[in-house]
Amino acid sequence: MNFKLKDIVPQLITVTAVVLVFGFFTYNAQINMENRGIDFGYGFLSQESSFDVQFSLIEYDGSHSYLRAYLVGLLNTILVSVIGIIIATILGVIVGVARLSPNYLINKFAAFYVEFFRNIPLLLQIFFWYFAALRALPLPQDAEAIFGVFFLTIKGLYVPAFIWQNFSVFFNSIVAAIIAIIVIRIYAKRVQENQGKQIPVFLISIGLIFILPLLSFLIGGVGVSFEVPVLKQLATTSFIYEGGVSLPPELIALTLSLSLYTATFIAECVRAGIQGVGKGQKEAAASIGLTPNQVLKLVIMPQALRIIIPPTTNQYLNLTKNSSLAAAIAYPDLVLVFAGTALMQTGKAIEIVSITMFTYLTLSISISLLMNWYNKKIAIQEK
């Protein structure tokens, strides 16, 4: 066995140092908690929380447990992240492509957008939207309807709610459409490999995703009606909207700033990805007689996506982590509800901060594992 003292000593020193530091911390924590009469444990999670949360996706009030409060916070974080990611991706792709436009004005406009929003701290942007921009909106009684059904007021955005009949049929029809599209894609690929024929998958997909849900309306007995928000007077000067769905201004400010900020980074990823595909690839594809659309679809995009997706996922992760800034404007996300209110009430600093950190850590590590797997899958197999 190749046993060398030279290899063992540095490792031993490092490990001892790490163990000593952790031991020191644990020892102190134990003594401190004993002195203050705090006991360590996660039992508090099942206790009654007795605080309220303004905005929650699941049913929640003070009589629910701390675990439920944690779930409320987590769901709110995920809600903001998902909305932010969707908007940021759409905006980022548009701006990234615009950055490469031969049109001077569009190009500069996109560059201006990127340079402008990228160089201002996200927290400042959140504060700006929440405390300055959204505060300039009209009061509920003065708000003008947008398209007759949306109401943008200082108390938030009110949108009509959908009231479904036989929602499950509609849902199943969408699932069926998606499955059908996947099957057709696989079939189309096989046909192309075997016979060299192209099947217009994109058109068929679009048709399916519209026609199947439409059929569900006609045949499946699905019905939908809208519940439009209606202005209601509480007191002489106090008005609210009733009915519909209300999005609180915190949520709007947060998603707006998160997506505007992250879109700049995604735009740069997209630009780098498209630029990263060699010019020769495009010319070679054109020279073997592919149409411009085919060049884009079959040659440019697959290669560009390979460059674009890893850094973009990183940006998604950043957005999710940045959504914790919600605590600054009192949007009840994981940090505010759990590491804020719950911590204040229970005083269990170590447990709560560790759970919060562990949640984010799990989220990040699972996404990066997924990313590594994807990277391996799409990496060019070199011989």
Binding site: V15, N119, P121, L124, A327, I350, Y360
Partner: protein, 481 residues
């Protein structure tokens, strides 16, 4: 010679007709929007609302369509067509952007300059519809220095001026001193900066420690010129510290201070620091600390020793996986629990440690990218020359790897500067925190917008300058392979 004109197909034969007609229509459309926006006159008011809105767009589109003639022979026209008028879609987008710019100029100008109030020092002067820059003017000191006492602010100014002067030494160094520059920037400069900021700005009795440090440094540098080169390293290793200890414990006794024979600077606790100067202080220290830590963990992650590698990976992935705000929460509520009871660390120091560790993980990943990008040949060549691990890394690997990752490092530092406002979590108020405080002042309610715009401009200038500087560095150190 005039040939038949087909208005659906502009061609070169009727160049002048199309050129005049097209430019005329285009100019009219721009003029319409311009008059509408700057003088609020709607010349197309007689048309129904929707059409009146679309009118300039349609007119401009036809105009641009007419002048889209390839190889016209007129240089300006060709340039115009190439840049903003390549096809119908681009023409519409160009028109929209031009109109948006013209439309948005008057309100922006009027808010920023024309209707804004600059004079006076009370809220009463702000009656116009524009911005109230008086508010910024009155609160300027608070935004810059936080709660730091007005009479003592010269200390912050002096420190920053001194640090900038000492930082610019590199530009004036003669060739003889060039080889010491790295040592200067990596060891001496951060040390002096640390002394300046923590002892000069905070003041109190510790100010004397600072004075001793400066005296010891100056004395040892002067004496250093007479030391033979052979012993210089050991000299600078031992003498400054020895001088400092002698000064502190044997020459200037603490009693002098207490007796009042020597008058120190007033003590300003870190809780009173704030504003933009705190942003600078925090960014500066985190920048200095996170770099060596990050480098160590990058090397650790590439180490051949499995245990060191696992520890480094664990460290990096942990800090990269959590949001900064929870790290600051940890430093505020959890970290004091981990320390002995009588052991107290200032909250500014705790915040700096937390941010440094957090950013170090990102720096480590960036540097690792540079290390991985180096070809194996470099390692093998260095080893074949008989270099050990440290020699190889210091003289061969790191200089090349760091050159490669300049943009990445600059991005991390940019992120660091942009993350500083988060320290509101531990109760420190830098410029954004001060803004939030100022806007709740009953005498100055309702000026949130001005404050945020002001801070945004400052941050934008800082970050943009940094990114441009990093781009220049990248170009400067670009070596062809």
């Amino acid at each position: 010679m005039m040939s038949k004109i087909n208005f659906l197909k502009p061609d070169k034969n009727n160049l002048n007709t199309f050129l005049y007609l097209g430019s005329f229509l285009f100019l009219i459309s721009v003029l319409d929007v311009f008059i509408n926006s700057f003088f609020s006159l709607n010349i197309t008011g007689f048309l129904p609302g929707f059409l009146s809105f679309l009118f300039p767009l349609i007119l401009g589109f036809i105009g641009l369509y007419f002048i889209r003639i390839e190889f016209s022979g007129i240089k300006q026209l060709d340039l115009l067509n190439k840049h903003i008028n390549t096809n119908n879609f681009n023409a519409v987008l160009s028109l929209l952007i031009i109109f948006v710019i013209i439309k948005s100029l008057p309100p922006i100008l009027s808010w920023f300059v024309i209707d804004a109030s600059f004079a006076g020092d009370t809220k009463d002067v702000c009656t116009g519809s524009g911005a109230c820059w008086t508010y910024i003017k009155v609160w300027m000191r608070r935004f810059m220095y936080g709660m730091y006492p007005n009479a003592e602010q010269w200390r912050i100014n002096l420190s920053f001026i001194a640090l900038v002067l000492m930082g610019s030494v590199g530009y004036f160094a003669t060739d003889r001193f060039k080889k010491y520059l790295t040592l200067y920037y990596v060891v001496i400069y951060p040390l002096i900066a640390f002394l300046f900021i923590f002892f000069f700005i905070s003041g109190g009795p510790v100010f004397f420690d600072f004075s001793y440090g400066i005296i010891a440094a100056i004395l040892s540098i002067i004496l250093g010129f007479f030391i033979p080169a052979k012993y210089k390293f050991y000299y600078f290793l031992i003498v400054p510290l020895a001088l400092y200890i002698t000064l502190k414990y044997f020459i200037f006794f603490e009693e002098y201070v207490e007796l009042g024979k020597l008058d120190g600077l007033n003590w300003v606790e870190t809780g009173a620091w704030g504003g933009l100067s705190l942003t600078f202080i925090i960014s500066f220290f985190c920048l200095i600390f996170c770099f060596p830590i990050g480098m160590a963990f990058a090397l650790g992650r590439r180490s051949n020793f499995p245990l060191i590698r696992y520890i480094s990976v664990g460290f990096i992935e942990f800090w990269r996986g959590v949001p900064l705000i929870t790290v600051l929460f940890m430093s505020a509520v959890m970290f004091p629990m981990f320390l002995p009871e009588d052991f107290f660390i200032d909250k500014l120091v705790r915040a700096i440690i937390a941010i440094s560790l957090f950013e170090a993980a990102y720096v480590a990943e960036v540097i690792r990218g540079g290390l991985q990008a180096l070809p194996r040949g470099q390692y093998e060549a260095a080893k074949s020359l008989g270099m050990g691990y440290w020699k190889m890394h210091i003289f061969v690997i790191l200089p090349q790897a760091l050159k490669l990752v300049i943009p990445g490092i600059a991005n991390t530092f940019l992120a660091l500067v942009k993350d500083t406002p988060l320290i509101f979590v531990v109760g420190l108020l830098e410029i954004v925190g001060m803004l939030n405080l100022a806007k709740t002042n009953p005498k100055w309610l309702g000026f949130a917008m001005e404050g945020y715009v002001f801070a945004a401009i400052i941050f934008w200038i800082i970050c943009y300058a940094m990114s441009k500087y990093s781009y220049n560095l990248e170009q400067k150190y670009k070596t062809d392979r």
